[in-house]
Symmetry: C2
Amino acid sequence: MKKNKRVGMLVDELISNPGRLFESKHFCEKYDIAKSSLSEDIRLANEILQANGSGHIESISGVGGGIRFLPGINTEQIRELQMKLIEMLSDKSRMLGGGFLYTADIMFDGNLVHDMARIFAQKFADRGADYVVTVETKGIALAAQTAFMLHLPLVVIRREARYSEGSTVSINYFSGSTDRIQKMSIAKRAVKPGTRAIVIDDFMRGGGSLKGVVDILGEFDIETVGKGVALGSREPERKKVDDYTPIVIVEEIDEENRKITISANEALQAEVHG
Amino acid sequence: MKKNKRVGMLVDELISNPGRLFESKHFCEKYDIAKSSLSEDIRLANEILQANGSGHIESISGVGGGIRFLPGINTEQIRELQMKLIEMLSDKSRMLGGGFLYTADIMFDGNLVHDMARIFAQKFADRGADYVVTVETKGIALAAQTAFMLHLPLVVIRREARYSEGSTVSINYFSGSTDRIQKMSIAKRAVKPGTRAIVIDDFMRGGGSLKGVVDILGEFDIETVGKGVALGSREPERKKVDDYTPIVIVEEIDEENRKITISANEALQAEVHG
């Protein structure tokens, strides 16, 4: 097989299986090439992926080693994504009243979700997480894509315990956004004590819901090692969780003048590439 | 830029943007090459993607034309996926009683979801759909990945109308699985009358829930042009919808002898490639 074709096939297989560790043997056998030729192919594939800003290939040497593709995003692409989100979210027809914005179309747009997930995948790749966790419903597509990119299982916390989840543990928490007590519930068999989780959600205002997730994970002795949200909020200034990463921020929803102000998380580029 | 690198970059960009139509100009400018060289690159990229069973590149000529990558899956990969699902689902520890199986880990496994979505993306690519639709919660990752591959918006029908969805339309339907009346609710602004939808869900037993989706879409004069479910069920023989595509089928859950029997949808390979 010609080098042209081998490198393209390598790129395809790696991107289609992000985060997955492949033994060198897998490719040497598939393409019937020596390890030295494979190293050359990998070097070129890595150059290609980095040139497109798609991520990079990590080589792990020794027993149990191999190569894997870690998705990422470059600073220019982060900026473009933020600009696009700001433009879409500033559209005043999204105003629902009571400080709510309609965002379902954004949170379920495959391309936007893919780019947002690249940010979280790059930022949280080295946290040693065992799962990505979200609360149903609007963050599921984003959390699922992030989990896929990090080659981790996704755990979805439900609002109501469902019979199809088997035994569950539930907690009540206070949600500032809805100004009432809410419930969340996690399937016992979905998690193991003493593990680590990355929490992804679509929106965070006061952080009540995110704190609920951290707390319910804590019930299982699961440490939250990263928190990412698509959309943060300037208000209230005081949040119930710290150290969370929003992509863009709702500065103000001025219902009287029908004006929505959204800003970029300016720290994001440094946080992701720092 | 060398042909080696160009072709790899083309493969990366196409796979990262499935279903999206790119003008030839985009690549000619990016790589600073003539249209004839690009045609050569596209031919090779197409060969690469087909060799891996990942899908193929479609070229659309004339004004408004260009190229796009349509994800797919080959017969061997379908078979492998079905075998893997059968093995996982036959594990008797999944039995929850009352004919329920624990499937959340499968429905939120990124690699399984990715491969299942490739089946539906290939099968439903030519239906002229405007959205992919699912009902929360367990089918969302699969529906989101299918929508991403088809470059279509995802619409998630909620169990309860939520304020953050804006105005909604709701219907009640009878769910045979839970033996009770259930409700579903769709955001008015998520859909437009006179359009077409592909419906994706995690599981279908009698088809009550799927029929509910078809009905609520019908309220908006939206035609359902494809129905895919990860897991079908042999019982009851009589379904409330026809012409749906399961990947694997629950033949029997024998609680007394603690045995789960799952089979492959044998028609799937012909349906997808026919």
